[in-house]
């Protein structure tokens, strides 16, 4: 059998060989605990601080504003809990299509602190937020009450792209903290917190060809929050636990490569998406979920008509060596359908499939996928 075709790069990506090379020495040679004061510890400490500087520079932050965590989920839990506890936030403005690490954390906070309210912005059928509704919500809240807007830059299932520049200005006008989940966009779009006033954002290395098990939180120095984990003074008291040195080095390296090669990969990946989209949307009843244009160039979520031949399309694709996804990997164990797709209020019965691409995919792979789908649909 041929090698499977991996079109599930929004779930996770293959590590870049250069990234793993940068990590190797920190497992076997420079293996010290960065908190140790001897030479081996200092080498590890230096690697972490250098990585922090790299990440900070790439997004226009200062090193003191970057905090490494074990993943995006931890970063988002940390800041949302901290927002209530340390910044006194009582009103969260979010949307029903956020990732579960935001959605569930906000539900939890509402349950834990009855005074905390979560206001959900309506989502339009094209997968974008309703800006008018957003302004109505902000208008309804007193100006001096601490509030936080948490809206994702790129939706992980349908790829809708949020205008964070516009939203940041709006948050400024309404004196709201602005958090944006940039897990899917970081390393794919330039983000500069000096130009765009963002209070918090987070990243996860394994979405941009870095290792799993490492993420970070950017926290604007003006909004200090405290630790979620207790028991050590690592990450300037914000995140206890021995630092994952190799993975931190890998994260920085992966983000650096992503930025250096962004233009080139963007052109390539965009052409793959465009090709697959054009060819498949030619088929009877197939259309794009969300916005075909104003969406991340690596994510294509397609709606297929529900027919006997398409009912098990995802399974059929897998049998034919094509790896795609029905939605977010994080909830794919739970068979409840996608909360994102259901927010689009589609009127038809459809089979929805997310194809997500990376720099390692080829046009030839797209051709195979198109041929397989036509076979499955008996076209």
């Amino acid at each position: 059998m041929l090698d499977p075709i991996y079109f599930d790069n929004a779930a996770t990506t293959r590590i870049d060989e250069r990234v793993i090379e940068s990590m190797l020495p920190y497992w076997t040679t420079h293996y010290g605990n960065p908190s140790s004061i001897h030479a081996l510890g200092r080498v590890a400490r230096k690697a972490i601080e250098q990585s922090r500087k790299t990440v900070a520079q790439l997004i226009g932050a200062s090193s003191a504003e970057i905090f490494f965590t074990s993943c995006g989920t931890e970063a988002s839990n940390m800041l949302l809990h901290g927002a209530v506890r340390d910044l006194g936030v009582l009103h969260f403005i979010s949307s029903p299509i956020e990732h579960h690490c935001v959605l569930h954390t906000l539900q939890h906070l509402h349950k834990q602190y009855p005074a905390v309210e979560v206001h959900n912005v309506d989502v339009l059928r094209n997968g974008h937020i309703d800006w008018i509704h957003l302004e109505q919500i902000l208008d309804s809240l007193p100006l001096d009450v601490p509030k936080l807007v948490s809206l994702m830059h790129v939706n992980n299932e349908i790829g809708s792209l949020l205008d964070i520049e516009r939203l940041a200005r709006l948050c400024q006008a309404y004196r709201a903290y602005f958090h944006t989940d940039t897990v899917q966009s970081l390393g794919f779009y330039p983000i500069d917190v000096q130009k765009t006033p963002i209070s918090f954002l987070m990243g996860s290395a394994h979405k941009f060809h870095g290792p799993k098990g490492i993420g970070f939180l950017y926290m604007n120095a003006k909004n200090p929050i405290h630790s979620l984990l207790y028991g050590g003074s690592q990450e300037r008291n914000l995140r206890a636990g021995t630092e994952n040195v190799a993975n931190i080095v890998g994260l920085a390296k992966a983000l650096q490569l992503a930025h250096e090669e962004m233009t080139q990969h963007r052109a390539h990946i965009s052409s793959l998406k465009h090709y697959l989209m054009t060819e498949l949307c030619d088929l009877e009843g197939v259309y794009v979920n969300g916005d075909a244009v104003d969406s991340h160039y690596k994510i294509l979520n397609l709606s297929f008509p529900l027919l006997p031949s398409t009912e098990l399309l995802l399974l059929q694709l897998d049998i034919h060596g094509v790896c795609a996804s029905g939605g977010s990997a994080c909830s794919s164990g739970v068979d409840v359908g996608s909360h994102v797709i259901s927010a689009l209020q589609k009127q038809d019965d459809s089979v929805n499939i997310r194809f997500s691409f990376s720099k390692y995919n080829t046009l030839a792979e797209c051709e195979v996928v198109i041929a397989r789908i036509k076979e499955i649909m008996r076209l």
Partner: protein, 407 residues
């Protein structure tokens, strides 16, 4: 035997990754890079298989009844936070009292302190001069309101092993759960969660020749079925107890590391015991030198020694380039405070400051121990030669009786 420098005697802070462990990890970065939560294609299944296999390996190391009792986390600190806060939340109806001990790792102590601010009552058991808790004190402190007794299996600074079987029995008599921080114990000394009556246990890969950034929480599922409230919300990974994309290569490495430790535990421990004894016997030839902690109830991997009238940090500087040791826990080594563990044993600030933790490991060789003996002996003698305090001591002056003039 050839000597490899630096001589790394700080294996309680962290260990190098065993090459066999790294070999296991690499394919999960490159060819099998899937997300373990991807349920509809082979990349996801391979990743999930790797995680489940590692779960079996970690379960076997501590003799858990089922692999389902293992929850992977980003490290021991997260596992400890999850266990203690998770139990406090879940068992709030039964009571609000937790018992732990003054010489626990900061991850336990700081989590308990955070809970105190939320109304949980915490008893911190004292230890005697050998670092052991007093079971009578535990019996006096425990009540029906106690929900958790958390006592570490092996102390990270002095290597003392508490009588956890007896502690577990006492906890269970009162319906309390027994948790042990086995960060320094797992993989080094035999741990049997079923035989020892452990309800919750925490450990980490990077202390047993696995990678940093991955740890585990054992949560008993039978007799009794223990539950903890999740502390991180998200996709509901790890059966709802710990959300976040699984660190598949790290977990696979952890599994392999656990297996290697299980298979080599007895032979490693025997070899390390011999090396530790050689090191201690040689250094104890120096006058005014003391081993801290119980001499019998302790792990062979840690030897904490006080060299009276020698300042520990200065001593470390003396052989810093060639020998890596620590003056206490790495997690607090940036602070200049004397070790709270040694102070709990009754050492005064001065003696606590003159202490060094030597921690041995799988890769420690006899040649390295010989080198360490020679270098440490030389450095201690040199520093004492320069010390007026040492001179006074030799002259028979009892330094405790001197009243120093302020200036």
């Amino acid at each position: 035997m050839e000597l490899k420098l630096p001589v790394y005697l700080d294996n309680s802070a962290t260990t190098p990754v065993d090459p066999r462990v790294l070999e296991t990890m690499i394919p999960y970065f490159t060819d099998n890079f899937g997300n373990a939560a991807s349920r509809n294609h082979s990349f996801g299944w391979h990743a999930e298989e790797a995680v489940d296999y590692a779960r079996e390996q970690v379960a076997a190391l501590i003799n858990a009844q089922s692999a389902k009792e293992i929850i992977f986390t980003s490290g021991a600190t997260e596992a400890i936070n999850l266990a203690i806060k998770g139990v406090a939340d879940m068992y709030a109806r039964k009571g609000n009292h937790i018992i732990t001990c003054t010489t626990e790792h900061k991850a336990v102590l700081d989590t308990c302190k955070a809970l105190e601010r939320k109304g949980i009552v915490v008893t911190y058991l004292k230890v005697d001069e050998s670092g052991m808790i007093d079971l009578a004190e535990l019996r006096a402190a425990i009540s029906e309101k106690t929900i958790l007794v958390s006592i570490m299996a092996v102390n990270n600074e002095i290597g003392v092993m508490q009588p956890i079987v007896e502690i577990a029995q006492i906890a269970h008599q009162y319906g309390a759960l027994f948790m042990t921080d086995a960060t320094q114990a797992a993989g080094k000394v035999p741990i049997d969660v079923q035989g020892m009556g452990i309800d919750l246990l925490t450990c980490t890969a990077h202390k047993m020749y696995g990678p940093k950034g991955v740890g585990a929480l054992y949560v008993r599922r039978k007799n009794p079925r223990v539950k903890v409230t999740a502390q991180m919300d998200g996709g509901g990974h790890e059966r709802g107890m710990r959300s976040g994309t699984l660190n598949v290569p790290g977990i696979a490495g952890f599994g392999r590391a656990a297996e290697l430790c299980r298979l080599d535990m007895a032979s490693d421990a025997q070899r390390v015991t011999d090396l530790r004894d050689k090191l201690e016997n040689a250094l104890m030839q120096l006058p005014e030198t003391y081993v801290n902690g119980h001499r019998l109830h302790r792990t062979p991997y840690i030897s904490n020694i006080s060299f009276k009238y020698v300042e520990g940090e200065g001593l470390m500087m003396g052989f810093n380039k060639n020998i890596a040791v620590s003056s206490g826990s790495a997690c607090t080594s940036a602070s200049l405070e004397p070790s709270y563990v040694l102070k709990a044993l009754g050492l005064d600030d001065e003696l606590a400051h003159s202490s060094i933790r030597f921690s041995l490991g799988r890769f420690t060789t006899e040649a390295q121990i010989d080198f360490a003996i020679a270098e440490v002996t030389k450095a201690v003698n040199r520093m004492r030669d320069l010390s007026p305090l040492w001179e006074m001591h030799l002259d028979g002056v009892d330094l405790k009786t001197i009243e120093w003039a302020a200036h």
